[in-house]
C-alpha cells in the first residue's frame, strides 16, 4: 500500500498541538510506515503539495495564515482542524474585543523601557486581521478535534482510524475541551 501523504502546519497556535502529536512517542515509528510527511514544521518542504490528510493547528490571525490555509484546503483531500485554536480561535481570540490600534501603540510606542518606539510596518510583515478566526469560517473543514491540546491518545486513535479507512471515533475519555 502506498504511504498516505500528510501535511501539518501551525497558524495562530502555540505548537502545543504539534507537541501532542509527537507525544505519541515511539508509536511515531510504526506511524511512519504508514504515512509520509509533506509540508510540516518537521520537514523542510515549504509548500503543501497534493496530500491525503492536512492537519492544521491554530486559528487565523493574519493574511499569511489565510493564504497557507487555502493552500492546504486546495491540496488536502481531508482537512482536520486540531485543537481549540483551530476549532474556535482559542486563547488568541481573547484579543477579539480589543482595538488593534490602541494595543499596537501601547506595545510599540508607550510601554516602559522602549527606545526608538515605532509601529512595525514593513511590507515583509503580513497584514494582521482585526479578529482571530476559526478555520471553518474561511474554508470547509472535514473534522474537528477539540482540546488544548487534544491528548496524544486522542490524536493516535483519530489518525489510525482515518488511515485504516474507518470513520474516526473518539470515545468517552478521549474527547476533552481543556
Amino acid at each position: 500500500m502506498p504511504k498516505l501523504k500528510v501535511a501539518t502546519t501551525s497558524l495562530a497556535g502555540c505548537f502545543g498541538c504539534h507537541m501532542s502529536l509527537l507525544d505519541i512517542d515511539e508509536r511515531l515509528f510504526p506511524l511512519l510506515d504508514l504515512i509520509e510527511f509533506d509540508r510540516s514544521p518537521l520537514t523542510d518542504i515549504k509548500h503543501c503539495g497534493p496530500c491525503d490528510i492536512g492537519i492544521v493547528e491554530g486559528g487565523i490571525c493574519n493574511a499569511e495564515n489565510v493564504h497557507v490555509l487555502r493552500e492546504f484546503r486546495a491540496n488536502c483531500k481531508t482537512l482536520i482542524a486540531i485543537g481549540a485554536c483551530a476549532v474556535t480561535g482559542g486563547l488568541p481570540a481573547q484579543r477579539n474585543h480589543l482595538d488593534l490600534g490602541a494595543c499596537l501603540s501601547e506595545v510599540y510606542l508607550t510601554e516602559g523601557g522602549l527606545e526608538h518606539g515605532l509601529i512595525p510596518n514593513d511590507p515583509e510583515l503580513p497584514l494582521p486581521l482585526d479578529k482571530v478566526h476559526p478555520l471553518h469560517e474561511v474554508v470547509k473543514v472535514d473534522y474537528f478535534i477539540p482540546g488544548c491540546p487534544p491528548s496524544a491518545d486522542a490524536i493516535w486513535k483519530f489518525l489510525t482510524d482515518l488511515i485504516a479507512g474507518r470513520t474516526p471515533k473518539l470515545g468517552h475519555g478521549l474527547i476533552k475541551y481543556d
Binding site: S10, G13, C14, F15, G16, M19, S20, L22, D23, D25, E26, F29, L32, E36, F37, P41, L42, T43, D44, I45, K46, C61, A63, E64, V66, G90, L91, P92, Q94, R95, L100, G101, L104, S105, V107, Y108, E111, G112, G113, L114, E115, H116, G117, L118, I119, P120, N121, D122, E124, L125, P126, L127, P128, D130, E137, V138, V139, C148, P149, A152
Partner: protein, 488 residues
C-alpha cells in the same frame, strides 16, 4: 562588532530572496535576503511575522488565571511560562519562600521541561543538518531521514523527550499545558507510585544524555574548522546565576558580562531588571530588540541560552555535566564556547544536567510532602524570572485591588537573542552565500544558523500589531468576514 548587512542603501535595485517559513523551528518567522546583480548579499534580516496580544488581553483577568493562560504562548516550553508567571504571582500574594515540597516540585517540573525541550530541539529538529550536512538533500533532512539512517539516535531522541514529558505530566497534571503551579506554591504533590514510575527509567536517561553530549562533541571534532567559524560572532551575555555562582535554571540573580569578559552586573536582583534592560523596535519585525541600558542600543545587545549559561556559570552542580562543561570550555583553546554551533553542544550538557537534577530530586522525600501552599500580604507588583530552555525569561505584572491584572510585560528568551540571530545569519550570508548562485542547500545554511539558537518564534510574537493597509477577508461563500486593519 555589528555587521553592515541590516539595511541596504538602495533596496529597490536589489533582488529579493525569501526563506519562508523557516522550518524545523518552533513558531513563525522568515528570512529575507537582498542580492545585487553580482550575487552579493546586501541585506539579510530575520523577521518575526506574527503577533498574538498576550500582554494586552491578560489585562482584566484575575491574577490566579495567569499561570495557566500564558503557557499558551508556547506549546514547546509551556512549563517555562507556567513557572515564570507563577513566580511573579508568588510576589503578588506576598510569598518570598515556598515550602520545600512546592519548590522542589516546581524544580522537578522545570528540569523535565529542559530535558524534553533540549531533546526535541537536538534530535527532532537539528540533528538532520548535523548528521547529513547543511546542504544535504531536502527529502531526507528531517527526523524521518534520521530514523532511517541512524535508528538508535532517533529512538533515543524520542525516548528522552518522552521521559521529560512524563516528568511534566506527573508533576503538572498534563504533558502540555498543565495546571499544578499556583500563586504561592503548587496544588499537587508526588505520590510514591508516581515517583517510582519516574525512577525506574532515570538511569538509562542519564546514560543516553551522556551519549548525546558525546555525539555533539564528535560532530564538532569531525568538522572543527567549520563548526568553529560558522555564523560566529562575539556578544555580551546574560543569564541567571545561583548565589554561589552555580548554574541554576530555576532561580538566581542576573549576571551580565561584556564581550571581553568584564562583569557589567552580577547577582543582581531581577526585581528591577528594567534598570538594565531596555528594548528597541525596528520597523521590519514584530520582535523587539533588547539591549543593556549601560551600553546603549547600538552596542548593548547580548546573547542568552545554553551557550551563555554553560560558559558563564562558575560550575554546574551535578558531576557528569560539570565534567562535560570543563571539557567544553577547554576544547580547542576555548573556541567552541564562543561558536554559534557551540549552542548544540552546550544544550546537550544542559540536558545531561537536567537528567542528573531529576535523579537527585526523585530521591528527595520532600516531593511527597503535604505542605504545598503559603500565603502572605498582597502586593501590587510581581516579577518572575526563570532560565527557560532557550534563555532568560521575564514575566512582569501589576495587579489592582480587585485582583485583576492591569499591566503585563513579557520579555521571552528568543527576544533576547533577536539581534544575535540577525548577526548569525548575516555572518553566514557573507561566509557562504555571497557571490554564489543560491541553491536550496545554501539557503538551508541560513536556517542552520537560526536553528542553533533554538528560537521559539511563537513565544516571540506575543505583541499586538497593526498594518497601515486595508484588505478584505472573504469566507468560503464569498461573504465579507473581516477587514484587515488600517493605520491607527
Amino acid at each position: 562588532m555589528t555587521l553592515q548587512l541590516e539595511t541596504a542603501p538602495h533596496p529597490e535595485t536589489l533582488r529579493r530572496v525569501a526563506i519562508e517559513p523557516i522550518s524545523r523551528v518552533e513558531g513563525h518567522g522568515k528570512v529575507t535576503l537582498l542580492i545585487d546583480e553580482d550575487n552579493h548579499v546586501r541585506q539579510a534580516r530575520l523577521h518575526i511575522v506574527e503577533f498574538r496580544g498576550f500582554e494586552k488581553f491578560v489585562q482584566g483577568r484575575p491574577f490566579w488565571e495567569i499561570p495557566v493562560m500564558v503557557q499558551r504562548l508556547c506549546g514547546i516550553c509551556p512549563v517555562s511560562h507556567h513557572l515564570a508567571a507563577s513566580k511573579a504571582m508568588d510576589q503578588i500574594v506576598g510569598v518570598d519562600h515556598l515550602t520545600p515540597t512546592a519548590e522542589k516540585l516546581r524544580r522537578l517540573m522545570h528540569y523535565g521541561q529542559i530535558l524534553q525541550s533540549h531533546a526535541l530541539h537536538f534530535f527532532h529538529l537539528s540533528s538532520p543538518d548535523l548528521l547529513f550536512g547543511f546542504g544535504s538533500e531536502v527529502a531526507r533532512r528531517n527526523i524521518v531521514g534520521v530514523a532511517a539512517a541512524h535508528p538508535d539516535v532517533a529512538k533515543q531522541g524520542v525516548l528522552l523527550r518522552k521521559y521529560g514529558q512524563e516528568v511534566i505530566r506527573v508533576t503538572a497534571g498534563k504533558r502540555v499545558h498543565g495546571t499544578s503551579s499556583v500563586p504561592g506554591g503548587v496544588n499537587k504533590n508526588l505520590s510514591s507510585e508516581e515517583r517510582d514510575h519516574l525512577l525506574k527509567d532515570i538511569y538509562p536517561i542519564i546514560a543516553w544524555s551522556r551519549e548525546a553530549v558525546a555525539l555533539a562533541r564528535r560532530l564538532f571534532e569531525q568538522d572543527l574548522e567549520r563548526y568553529n567559524s560558522f555564523g560566529r560572532f562575539d556578544a555580551h551575555s546574560l543569564c541567571l546565576i545561583r548565589a554561589d555562582g552555580a548554574m541554576d535554571l530555576y532561580h538566581g540573580g542576573l549576571r551580565a558580562r561584556t564581550v571581553d569578559g568584564k562583569t557589567l552586573f552580577d547577582h543582581e536582583n531581577y526585581d528591577h531588571y528594567w534598570e538594565h534592560i531596555h528594548e528597541e523596535v525596528k520597523s521590519w519585525s514584530y520582535m523587539k530588540f533588547p539591549f543593556f541600558r549601560e551600553l546603549g542600543p547600538e552596542a548593548g545587545w547580548y546573547r542568552v541560552g545554553p551557550l551563555t549559561r554553560v560558559s558563564q556559570c562558575d560550575f554546574i552542580p551535578t558531576p557528569f555535566a560539570d565534567h562535560e562543561r570543563r571539557d567544553f570550555l577547554a576544547f580547542d583553546g576555548g573556541n567552541a564556547a564562543g561558536a554559534t554551533l557551540g549552542y548544540h553542544w552546550a544544550r546537550m550538557i544542559e540536558m545531561l544536567h537536567a537528567a542528573e537534577m531529576i535523579k537527585e530530586l526523585l530521591h528527595d522525600d520532600d516531593l511527597l510532602g503535604q505542605d504545598l501552599l503559603v500565603t502572605g500580604e498582597r502586593r501590587e507588583r510581581g516579577v518572575g524570572m526563570i532560565e527557560a530552555p532557550r534563555g532568560t525569561l521575564i514575566h512582569h505584572y501589576r495587579v489592582d485591588e480587585n485582583d485583576l491584572v492591569v499591566r503585563a510585560n513579557l520579555i521571552v528568551s528568543t527576544t533576547h537573542n533577536n539581534q544575535a540571530m540577525n548577526e548569525a545569519i548575516r555572518r553566514v550570508a557573507s561566509q557562504y552565500l555571497d557571490g554564489q548562485t543560491l541553491t536550496e542547500g545554501l539557503l538551508n545554511h541560513i536556517e542552520v544558523a537560526v536553528r542553533a539558537f533554538d528560537p521559539c518564534l511563537s513565544c516571540a510574537t506575543h505583541a499586538l500589531g497593526k498594518m497601515p493597509l486595508e484588505l478584505e477577508l472573504l469566507g468560503p461563500d464569498g461573504a465579507l468576514l473581516d477587514r484587515l486593519g488600517t493605520a491607527p
